[in-house]
Structure formats: C-alpha cells, structure tokens
C-alpha cells in the first residue's frame, strides 16, 4: 500500500501521527542501504524479487544535476554533528537514487520539485540552487520548510520539501549511522531485563517481587540447565 493511502485509511480508522509508521511493515521494509554500494543485501529474496531488484539497480532515473542538488539538500536537512555524520556521509543520495526507481510515484514530484527549486533560486539569486551560497540556500528553505507558515504562491515548493525531508530522514535513520545517532538498541541475544528500574520509578511503577522471583536472574542467564540421566532437571 502506498503511504498516502495508508495515512488516509489510518485517519479513517482513527489513527494518525507520524512516528509509529516505523511500526508497520511497508512493502519495502527490507531495503537496506549499504553506504556507497548499490546491490541488495544478503537477505532472502524470491526469484521474482531478485528479478525486480536487478531491473531497478540496472535502471537510471535521476540525472547528475538532480543528484548533486539532492546531495546539497541532504546536508542542509541533516548536517554532520559532533557525534554523527551528515546525510551524505550516510549515503542518503544513493538511497534517493534507488528509492525513486523502486517507488516510482516519487519520480515526478522529486524531478518537478528540484526544477521548482532551481527556478526559485533563479528568481531570487539569478543562479541554480547548488550554485547559491549556503546562506542563500537556507533563505530559500526558510520559505518552504515550515508547512504551516508558507506563502500561498510557494505552496508547491513546501510540498516538495516535505517529501524530500521525509525521504532524507528515512534514508538516514535506516543506516547504521542513523540508527546509532537515534539510539535504537533492539534485541540482544539472551538478554531481556524488562524496563529499566529507574524508568519504572520515574513513572511511579515497579515490578512486583512475586513476579521477579519467577523470572531469570540476569546474573545467571548464561548458565545452562543440568539434567540427570533420566532427564530430570537437576539445576
């Protein structure tokens, strides 16, 4: 299902909100972005999917100028910080190159939007977007980056920038670099210690002693059970 349809059906269903979208499983959930590489990961694919992947990877859509503009936008949206790399460091332009080929509904709005951006730069600064200095680039973004505060005649630019921002963030936070920056931890083999005690305490909660006694003592979690010759549990 296309994301727009998802949102629509979610709204009808009474759900809305952006962040938990990560919790559902979209069609392309297992697309991995591996830095500069542009081949699919080692995860399981059916023959049909492999055929589709090969076709997508062999095709070309974005031009060099478009990709160069995207790279500039990437680092305006997510510049490097003291602890994390920028969107281009994470390979987001390569992700963009891939995703518009994989989800073709992005093609026209991205291409048209990039052209809109160059047109706007031309009007304001007499050159295309990538040739502007950063201050000029930010001046253009400030006009279109806040959807609740956009001049009506620039609404299409805001629509483009919102799409671009969505894709840049999704591309970034699905890389190792982005995941580290976000702090997603996920499962660790053989460790489950529930919600940390201090977090529970902060919300006025705690695990019941009676239940804790039934759970694995974390200091002994690597100890294997022992059975006697008749299969009775010794320890």
């Amino acid at each position: 299902m296309k994301r727009r349809e998802t949102i629509k059906s979610m709204l009808v269903g009474g759900i809305a909100g952006p962040l938990f979208i990560a919790g559902c499983q979209p069609e392309h959930a297992d697309v991995k972005i591996k830095g500069k590489e542009s081949t699919p990961g080692p995860y399981g694919r059916t023959d049909k999917e492999k055929e589709h992947d090969a076709k997508v990877y062999a095709s070309k859509f974005l031009t060099e100028h478009e990709l160069a503009t995207i790279a500039v936008l990437c680092d305006l949206i997510l510049p490097a910080t003291a602890t994390a790399g920028s969107a281009t460091d994470a390979g987001v332009p390569e992700f963009m190159d891939f995703i518009v080929k994989d989800i073709t509904s992005h093609q026209l709005p991205i291409r048209g939007g990039l052209m809109w951006l160059d047109h706007r730069s031309g009007r304001l600064f007499d050159t295309n977007f990538i040739s502007c200095n950063m201050q000029q680039q930010k001046q253009i973004l400030d006009e279109i980056a806040y959807p609740d505060d956009v001049a009506p005649e620039l609404a299409q630019g805001a629509e483009f920038f919102s799409r671009m921002r969505n894709l840049v963030l999704t591309g970034y936070y699905t890389t190792r670099m982005g995941i580290d920056d976000l702090g997603y931890q996920g499962n660790v083999a053989n460790v489950w210690d529930g919600v940390p005690e201090d977090v529970l305490a902060k919300h006025g909660m705690s695990y019941e002693k009676e239940w804790l006694a039934k759970c694995v003592d974390q200091s002994k979690r690597d100890v294997l059970a022992q059975w006697d010759e008749e299969g009775r549990l010794v320890e």
Partner: protein
Amino acid sequence: MVREVLTDDEGLATGVSYINKDDRQEYELKAKVVVLAASACSSARILLNSKSKQHPGGLGNSSGVVGKYLHDSTGASRSAFIPALMDRKLYNEDGTGGMHIYFPWWLDNKKLDFPRGYHMEAWGGLGMPSYGFGFDPNELNVHIGKKVGGYGDQLRKDVKSFYGSTVGISGRGECIAREENYCEIDPHVVDEFGIPVLRFNYTWTDHEMLQGKHMHDTFEEILTAMGGVLLGTKPGKEDDYGLAAPGRIIHEVGTTRMGNDKKRSVVNANQQLHDAKNVFIVDGGPFVSQADKNPTWTILALSWRTCDYIIDQLKKQDI
C-alpha cells in the same frame, strides 16, 4: 496451483488437477486422500470449482453451505501522543508491539448492547526504523506549541525527542457468523491460470458496529488516562465506527463449517467432508465461530487431530 479436486463415479476423490506455475501446464496427481489447506476462502474456491455429475454444486456442497458463514475478526485502532514519553531513556523495547501485549476481554455481556467481545493489543515503543520512519518527523510539535517543519540540527533533535512517544491500542473482536456473509464463484472473472475466482458479499451488522463503538470509547478512556493527546479523529456511525473493512484483519474463517448435520454443514467433527469421506479440510474453513484471537493455533491443533484421524482411518482401511 490446484484447479480442482477430481472425483470418481462414486463421488470420492481420486486426486487433484493443478497448474505448474513454471511451465503453465495442467497436471493431475492421483491420491487416496486429499487434504485441503489453502486457507478458508481458497479451499472453498477449490471445492466450488470441483463440479461433477456427483457433485453438481461443487464438491462437498450438497448442503449449499460452502462459502457461507464467512467471517473475519473485527478490528479498530486509535493512537495517542504521550508527552511524558518524550526524550525517553533508550533501551531495548523490541517486541512491545509485535508480540501483542494482550488485554483479554473483561466485561459481562449482559450489560452491553452487543454479543461476544474483543481483546486489545497495545503497541508503540522504541522500534527499529524502516521505510517510513521520519516521515512528518515533528508533526507532533503542534501539540506542544512548537513550529512544525524545519531542517538542520533542530530537526534532528526533534526526531530524537519524539522517538517512542506515541502509543496505540488495537481492538480485535469476534464477528457473529452469518449465512448472509459469503464468498462464491464469480461468473465473469478468472485468474492468470484460467481458474474462476471468488467474489465476496459481506456486511457488518449492529453486533460488530456497536462493538467497534465500544472499542473506541475504551481506547479513548485508556489513552486519555495515560495523559495522551489523542491522534486522528474518533470515527462515528458514518465510518462504521472505524471498523477495518472485512478481510483486513486476515482472520477469515467459516467457509466450510463443521457440524453433525450434513444438511447444514460441510465437514464433520474430524474435518472430513460429509459428501466425500477421503477429503479433509485443515484450515480456518471449518470454524463455526472464532474467538477474538488469531485462529492459527486452533487451526494447527485441529489439523493435528485430523492427521491422527486420517492415519487411524487408513490403518482400518475405512478411507
């Protein structure tokens, strides 16, 4: 891809005809026993497409019940932004959503305006980003008096601030099985193998609608008590109280219902066709009702039981 179950002059199964998806040719497989497990609707489709002199209305359909009493779980959801969960300490929260933290049905139906009930599943948490993560990254700013949108370091900060701050609840309930909800062979449409497909006739009644309304009242009560800002709008009667379209919860069952009376059911207590004793159905089709929970484990248990029965019958040479 099975087209139909083949039968002999006595109406017993002799095997199946199927299409090999690689060479697109039709083949026949001979068998002493045929076990259908194509999922509730597809097994009904195979039976309805297996017409013969002995089974003019489709195999196993002398009762006319194949395809009828189709029912899926009811489903509705709501979510909320919990400001108290912003800027959380991060830890492993995998599984808080997907494994279905589960609230069993808790009320006495005598005091309610609908039969049966539903359970709830809670979700949210510090999940792994996948495609779609970061879309509308700081839309929730609208609830805390900050500006939506932007770029740069502030945007990066917002993404982290809101990470794990929304929770949701989904209700999954029991739909009452009715003869009027059914699938049947579409007289106009075939699939890519030339096999006629199903079409569906299904409506919710007040049983399900009022259940959906009750779900939404409950979601609101819980999420509000959590200090949540409810997201989206509360669906009303005109939106079927937010019930997902029939089939969306993918718990479809009931199309080859079980029963002792061969005039009113398709299979017996061993999931064996009343009309052909060497054909069995081991998917959700034989369910006469469904609990509000996922049907798979019950399907497995009944399949196991049917397998034991088939072995027993083969040993006794009764089938």
